[in-house]
């Protein structure tokens, strides 16, 4: 399936190659570079590129292109999903998935890639198994390794692969047994000029951090499971239990993982936590414009809106902005034409306002479209959909674990059209 993998940075340097079958010359990437050039933005590089003898399937993540070479028919999503999994594994191992970390840990990267694919077919992709095979680097361990000459490769052979629960490593031991669940909801919305909701839905995930000894069997139930419209689960979740009882029952992997993601669709009414009053206009003459943005709370369920940021992608002709913010700071980058207004905490008594003038390139026609605003925000201790975890039970182990649930609401793709 996957023949080779090339990692290419944003500048077009090919800094790592790995072949699972016969070696394919790196010149095959020229086709990719061509497409990259044509696309202008890295986002616009087509994920599948056809070359005379191969197909290149690539993803763009953390400023790195993962370009895989395919020779025969394969579901493209298979490859794309796998490449993302590779990137996630790197992130898991090295804290971040960047060119520097990959270069610094090139041997581990290589060992990982070797284990993840066999002859181009995925072999071990569960992070718990991989961590048994190849230990993630820590500063302490790398010190010790250098001095003693010991290695990153696990001494014991991993048995997780052989069990029916491949996602969990065996013999986990903790002194403090704890399980934390973060319910994170993101609001995706499009608001139109007048502030009415064109489209809004909620995407939620439950991130778990489970550090429990032995083989705990957990079940998580909700107060109102019927809210969840569409769900997807980590493979550890027993689907049948969910179907029949709406209870999430699972033996967790060790460490951090995403337990489930859910979707609360546009059919339900979605509370929009903030409103935006904006007035952006460009004058026909004098090559200037005016801007006035006010943000206020709408349906916040009595919680404070934090980390409020408004981002505006200005038209190309806008040269500079001369604004005055009553709260927070703004920054206009004339190269990328992005205006960022970092408000911080939203104070309902004194609404933040950004007002001032924009200067345009002289002589250029006034821009057609007013730029749309992207809102970023965060509300602690609230799941905007109203989802509540009822209880978490543990079976199969004797000890009493420490349990915790946290709710956060964030803005996802929250856009206000102007």
């Amino acid at each position: 399936m996957i023949h080779s993998l090339f990692l290419i940075n944003n500048a077009g340097d090919l800094f790592l190659e790995k072949h699972w079958k016969s070696v394919i010359s790196r010149s095959v990437c020229d086709y990719f570079f061509e497409a990259r050039e044509k696309a202008v933005e890295p986002d616009n590089v087509p994920p599948v590129i056809r070359t005379p003898h191969h197909y290149l399937i690539n993803i763009y993540r953390e400023k790195i292109f993962f370009v895989s070479v395919i020779q025969t028919e394969v579901p493209p999503l298979f490859v794309i999903e796998f490449l993302h999994r590779v990137a996630e594994t790197f992130q898991d191992y090295f804290g971040e998935c960047s060119e520097t970390t990959i270069k610094d840990n090139v041997v581990i990267v290589y060992e990982l890639l070797e284990e993840m694919l066999d002859n181009g077919f995925p072999l071990a992709t569960e992070s718990n198994i991989l961590k048994e095979l190849i230990r993630p680097p820590t500063i302490l361990r790398s010190m010790v390794n250098t001095i003693t000459g010991s290695s990153n490769v696990g001494e014991t052979l991993p048995t997780g692969q052989l069990s029916t629960i491949p996602w969990r490593r065996a013999g986990v031991k903790y002194t403090n047994n704890e399980a934390y669940f973060d319910v994170v909801e993101e609001i995706d919305a499009i608001l139109d000029k007048s502030g009415t909701t064109v489209f809004a839905e909620i995407q939620g995930v439950i991130e778990a951090c489970v550090k429990l000894s032995g083989m705990p069997d957990l079940s998580l139930s909700f107060m109102n499971p019927r809210l969840l419209d569409d769900v997807s689960f980590h493979p550890c979740v027993r689907y049948k239990r969910w179907e029949s009882e709406r209870v999430i029952s699972f033996i967790p992997p060790d460490g951090n993982f995403q337990l489930m993601s859910y979707h609360i669709s546009a059919q339900n009414l979605v509370a929009i936590p903030v409103y935006v009053k904006q007035n952006i206009s460009f004058f026909e003459t004098g090559s200037s414009g005016r801007m006035d943005i006010t943000v206020g709370p709408k349906q916040t369920m009595g919680k404070t809106v934090e980390c409020l940021v408004v981002t505006v992608h200005m038209p190309k002709v806008v040269l500079s902005a001369n604004l005055n913010a009553t709260q927070g700071t703004y920054n206009y980058d004339p190269v990328t034409k992005i205006l960022v207004w970092d408000i911080g905490k939203l104070n309902p008594q004194k609404l933040p306002n950004l007002k001032g003038s924009l200067s345009l390139q002289s002589g250029a026609p006034k821009p057609e479209e007013n730029p749309s605003l992207n809102i970023d925000l965060k509300i602690q201790q609230l799941a905007i959909s109203g989802l509540k975890v009822n209880r978490l039970d543990m079976y199969g182990e004797k000890y009493k674990p420490f349990k915790g649930v946290k709710y956060v609401t964030k803005a996802g793709k929250f856009q206000v059209r102007t």
């Binding site: 016969s22 066999d118 052989l162």
Partner: protein, 1161 residues
């Protein structure tokens, strides 16, 4: 990996230079960090040995220094030296540096001899890195690579499965042709390895060997066949992968494994799931009938009616009608249904590829009404990474063309954000356009309106085209769209205007008469628009409809003639066209102009234009030489042109399997397997039947698995055995699976149930027997008549009222009977013979009564039964079943009809068991009816199958298994002389004619216990012996599950208070710590179903305190249908309270006893 600087300070000079030079040649400077680190740490170790003297601390950080100049062969000397040393740490360091070089694409092949020596190194990491190196370079250095083979061969024999697997993996990865035979041997051996992990590795090795030497294909297919029959989830994905790569066309290999693959699917790892689902899609396309066949016929019909001439139409209609009638009763193959059902949960997978695979499976295979469920999951994927979005949108675009309704509710999810990448925007636009219809067009157009103002010009152009397409497809909005587009003509952006012109041109072609003013408006635009395509479009429009704008057209031509030389080629061609058309319609005004234009064109640089000019001149300007065509010039130029059809570029893409690379590219990729068309008639479904021994092994494996892991995954018993078991019994028979799984537990529980009511039975024993004797006599006299009748019928074989089935049965019976008579006439007394006849006639009577419809199946089944006694049992079972309508419907053979009925039964039990979380089979206990020694070699076991006994719902189904452990055949097994209390009834199983040596047979019988736990006694007869047998039901088996909601439960419980309620406190056993165990224990003890809770919690008025879990179970007694309600309330510290509400107090008390026993164990 970061080495402390203090260590590197002591590095010897020449050394660190070399090590750096080896690595730092890569272009980017930052990359040297690792190299330096590696170099430093390595050299530190090195210096320890030599007691390093020179110092050059920061040398490693400067890539430009020295190293570059050292030559290649010298460069690796240090590495060789390190590899040759006997210190593992040095070897490791060297290998790390070598691997880093490989990663960067540097050539390190000259190190091969030095590296290959270390293949036998003890250190695991060194070994692994050597493997990495070997796999990379073995192909180039085949001879040297052979040195390593013996190590792997040794590894293949290692007792540790992981080492065996890794040896096989590397051995098969080094692409050296000369070792093909060794690889073949290794793969074959590994394919029958004990460890599933090694077998998985063998499956992985198959495609490797195949690509190395395609001539091994035949042998490899054998291995694949073998591995396909593997029962573990670990192997399944990999072997299907190998199948797809080596022999995707050998669909016949799948038949036997089809059901198993379907059932294992949910437990296979994600990547395997994708491959299996894609393969099964193709398989299903070859094996099943099109579920939408009626729909597609209707479509065809309407199309034909539209185009065909009248006569043809009539004929066609007749033919079609006939075929509709013929095909109308579409019944989905149970295997087809199995596939759809077992893939559905995977829509919930976190892996986008799995979701997509299921989606395409449903799109290609599911009945139209069921395809809709995939929409939600696909819409969910749209939140994922942009690459995933891109692929999903491509597929959604194709789906929306064929099944628009499916995505309509999710219209808004395809709305476009200004921050989306352009390629995503354009795909979303495509989907929105496909989804547009009369009802939603206004919202879509409003949405499009905002898109047109976007800064992304490519996107704007696409939006305008989308508006054009909506306008052509939906007549109602055509004028609105046109007006909107005309307004766009005054847009400041030229690109927008140009695109609008092109689209307007297409729209105008549909109804040019009404829009001459638009054409005029556009004629004016020609002065301003510079985009060639738009200019060309305007010119074409004016030329085409010059009658509508008779005054303007010549003027436009005049202007164009002036600027002719500066125009683009495409515009020039249109100018010539315009001139020609005007010349033909209005030659007076334009003759000279036309000539001028043609003259200009004659000397144009472009030969196309020169050619065109010459051609047109000949055609329109009459000269002496001009030929016959001249007359037709007008017809040629001013012919009515059909309006262009604006269709989606995704039309007809669905002939590629969705989700495939070929579909995405709209071109066949290498190795793409065509999605076959549905067959006209279904191939024989029996090819998927698996022999019984095979799958009983499978189920026992499942048991093992369940035992090994205390809680099976995905399924605490209910999940797994829910689908898998149902499927099993679909494939063969429920009885078999129950017996197979139950037999594991046999012997464990047989003592406990006898405790209940022995005292009672002893007291009544005498009366009972008397009663029984009386009844027996009565029965006998009654029974004699039919028996005589049947005897008559035997003689007069041509009796017309006898059904053919019965004949066959009879004939066989008589044959066996006569045999047995001749053999055993001395030993058997008269009464026995009589009773034999009696029971026989009974069964035949039953058959006569119950199965008038299902004549076909039993007939065939009887034939089959001769061959395989095992199968006979299940088919006998079938006999009892009131044959469902489906039996008469299809020409599919008898097994499939039995499957249908099995399926129906199953779906029924599913409905009952669905919310209960019980595995029926897991809970079934086997009891001994006749011990092997006591029965002189005949062993009889029985269990309560907990299935509804279909011939009589008031009876408890008892499944009896006979095993012949004697050295001779046992014949004429039947029941005789039932001694029963009044009101009790027994429905015997059909006589078993013969039980071969070592064989076992399972039959079903029904007993109405009248809700009491007293034993049912009868005699079990063979052709030689009689055995006394008694079946005593535990109280829990006298009930069947009843489905109640929590509220209903409470209501019913309220009615059964006071005397009918029995409370008992108990301490839970040690193992009863969690819900599953409690539920399992209760349901194992009594045939009850769990009352679902949780979702009702919110609405029920007094919500139970969450810390006290309450488990409720409901059922009703089999024969009188009294409700039995059980409540278990657990308390802190292992205490619990058990409440049983039942009208029949005796049952209640006994049940309490049993439950307390079960729960406190």
């Amino acid at each position: 990996m970061r080495a402390p600087p203090a260590l590197s300070a002591s590095a010897p000079r020449n050394w660190s230079r070399d090590s750096v030079s080896a690595l730092s040649r890569s272009a980017s400077s930052s990359s040297s960090a690792t190299a330096a680190a590696a170099g430093m740490s390595a050299s530190s170790a090195f210096s320890d040995e030599k007691g390093g003297s020179a110092s050059e601390p920061e040398y490693g950080h400067d890539p430009a220094s020295g190293g570059i100049f050292s030559s290649d062969y010298k460069r690796h000397d240090d590495l060789k030296e390190m590899l040759d040393s006997n210190k593992d740490s040095l070897k490791l360091e060297a290998m790390k540096r070598i691997v880093a070089m490989i990663a960067r694409g540097k050539n390190t092949s000259d190190l091969f001899p030095a590296v290959v020596k270390n293949v036998a190194c003890k250190n695991i990491e060194v070994k692994k890195l050597v493997y990495v190196y070997l796999v990379r370079y073995a192909e180039e250095q085949q001879d040297l690579a052979l040195l390593s083979i013996s190590t792997f061969q040794r590894g293949l024999k290692d007792p540790n499965q992981l080492i065996r697997a890794s040896a096989l993996r590397v051995l098969s990865s080094i692409r050296v042709t000369i070792i093909v035979p060794i690889m073949m041997l290794a793969i074959k051996e590994a394919a029958s390895d004990m460890s599933p992990y090694v077998r998985k590795t063998a499956a992985h090795a198959i495609p490797k060997l195949h690509s190395l030497d395609p001539e091994q294909k035949d042998q490899l297919i054998e291995v694949i066949e073998k591995l396909l029959s593997d029962k573990t989830t670990l192997v399944a994905g990999s072997v299907v992968m190998a199948f797809e790569e080596v022999c995707p066309d050998r669909i016949d290999l799948i038949h036997k494994n089809y059901r198993k693959l379907c059932n294992l699917l949910i437990d296979v790892e994600e990547w395997g799931q994708v491959v299996i689902i894609n393969m099964l899609t193709r398989y299903a396309r070859t094996q099943f009938l099109n579920p939408n066949v009626n729909e597609s016929l209707l479509e065809e019909n309407s199309e034909k009616a539209f185009y065909a001439s009248d006569d043809e139409e009539d004929e066609d209609k007749k033919a079609e009608a006939a075929s509709v009638v013929k095909r109308k009763p579409y019944v989905m193959d149970p295997d087809h249904r199995l596939l759809l059902r077992n893939t559905k949960p995977l829509l919930q997978s976190r892996n986008a590829a799995v979701v997509m695979a299921v989606a395409q499976l449903y799109f290609h295979l599911a009945p139209k009404a069921e395809v809709g469920i995939i929409a939600k999951a696909l819409v969910r994927l749209m939140r994922s990474h942009s690459e995933v979005q891109y692929v999903v949108l491509q597929n959604v675009a194709t789906m929306t063309i064929k099944r628009r309704g499916m995505f309509e509710p999710y219209l808004k999810s395809f709305y476009i954000r200004s921050t989306d990448p352009t390629q995503i925007k354009i795909l979303k636009l495509e989907v929105l356009t496909n989804l547009a219809n009369e009802t939603n067009i206004s919202t879509i157009l409003r949405e499009f309106q905002t898109y047109i103002k976007s800064m992304d010009k490519d996107f704007v152009a696409a939006s305008i085209q989308a508006i054009g397409r909506c306008a052509t497809n939906i007549g109602e909005v055509r004028d609105t769209c046109l007006n909107g587009l005309v307004q766009l003509l005054s847009n400041r952006d030229e690109l927008v205007v140009a695109e609008s012109v092109v689209v307007i041109k297409k729209l105008l072609q549909m109804q040019p008469e009404q829009h001459s003013d638009i054409i005029k408006h556009m004629a004016k635009l020609i002065d301003n628009i510079q985009v060639p395509m738009a200019r060309a479009s305007i010119l074409w429009l004016i030329g085409e409809y010059c009658e509508h704008v008779p005054k303007i057209a010549p003027d436009v031509l005049r202007k164009m003639a002036k600027s002719f030389n500066n125009e683009e080629d495409i515009v020039k061609l249109q100018i010539i066209n315009l001139a020609a058309k005007l010349y033909l319609t209005n030659s007076k005004q334009t003759k000279l102009l036309t000539q001028y234009v043609l003259n200009l064109a004659k000397y144009d640089q472009n030969y196309d234009i020169r050619d065109r000019a010459r051609f047109i001149r000949q055609l329109i300007v009459p000269t002496d030489k001009s030929g016959a065509l001249n007359k037709y010039a007008k017809k040629l130029f001013l012919a009515l042109k059909p309006a262009p059809v604006l269709e989606s570029p995704f039309k007809d893409r669905d002939h590629f399997q969705l989700g495939s690379l070929s579909h995405l590219l709209n071109a066949k990729a290498g190795g793409y397997q065509e999605l076959p068309n549905w067959p006209e008639s279904a191939p024989d479904p029996s090819v998927r039947n698996v022999e019984i021994p095979d799958w009983s092994k499978c189920s026992s494996r499942k048991d093992r698995k369940e035992k090994k892991v205390e809680k099976p995954f995905y399924s605490d018993s209910e999940g797994e055995s829910g689908p898998t078991e149902s499927a099993d019994s679909e494939s063969d028979s429920g009885s078999g699976s129950a017996s197979a799984s139950g037999s594991d537990e046999s012997g464990s529980g047989s003592e406990s149930e006898e405790s209940g009511e022995e005292t009672e039975s002893e007291e009544e024993d005498d009366d009972e027997e008397e009663q029984k004797k009386k009844r027996k006599k009565l029965d006998k006299t009654k029974a004699k008549k039919p028996a005589e009748e049947s005897a008559e019928s035997e003689q007069s074989s041509s009796a017309e009222d006898r059904k053919s089935v019965r004949k066959v049965v009879k004939n066989q019976k008589s044959a066996s009977e006569s045999e047995s008579e001749s053999e055993s006439s001395e030993s058997e007394d008269e009464s026995e013979e009589e009773s034999e006849e009696e029971s026989e006639s009974d069964t035949s009577n039953i058959r006569k009564k119950k199965t008038p419809v299902s004549k076909q199946p039993p007939k065939q089944s009887k034939k089959e039964s001769k061959k395989e006694t095992q199968e006979m049992s299940l088919l006998d079972l079938d006999d009892f079943e009131p044959a469902p309508a489906s039996a008469s419907v299809t020409p599919v053979n008898f097994l499939s009809s039995s499957l249908v009925s099995d399926l129906e039964g199953l779906s029924l039990t599913d409905a009952i068991l669905g919310p209960t979380t019980i595995a029926p089979s897991g809970a079934i206990k086997m009891y001994e009816l006749l011990h092997r020694i006591k029965g002189e070699g005949l062993a009889v076991d029985y269990c309560f199958s907990r299935q509804p006994f279909s011939p009589d719902p008031n009876m408890v189904a008892v499944q009896i298994q006979f095993t012949n452990n004697t050295n001779s055949e046992i014949k004429n097994l039947h029941i005789e002389d039932p001694r029963l209390q009044s009101g009790r009834r027994i429905r015997e199983f059909a006589e078993i004619e013969m039980l071969a040596v070592g064989d076992s047979v399972t039959v079903m019988m029904g007993i109405d216990f009248c809700d009491s736990t007293q034993a049912a006694n009868f005699q079990l007869c063979t052709h030689t012996r009689k055995f006394f047998a008694s079946i005593q039901p535990p109280v829990g088996e006298l009930m069947t599950p009843a489905f109640l909601t929590e509220n209903d439960f409470k209501k019913e419980q309220g009615k059964l208070m006071g005397m009918n309620e029995i409370l008992e406190k108990l301490t839970l056993g040690e193992k009863c710590v969690n819900e599953h165990v409690i539920v399992e224990r209760v349901t194992a003890t009594a045939n009850l179903s769990r009352v679902p809770c949780g979702s009702d919690k919110e609405c029920s008025t007094p919500p139970p305190p969450p810390s006290v879990p309450v488990y409720r179970f409901a059922g009703k007694t089999v024969s009188s249908g009294c409700l039995v309600l059980v409540t278990v309330t657990t308390k802190e510290g292992g205490g619990a309270q058990l409440t049983v509400n039942c009208e029949k107090m005796v049952i209640g008390t006994m049940l309490v006893k049993d439950l307390v026993l079960a729960l406190s164990q």
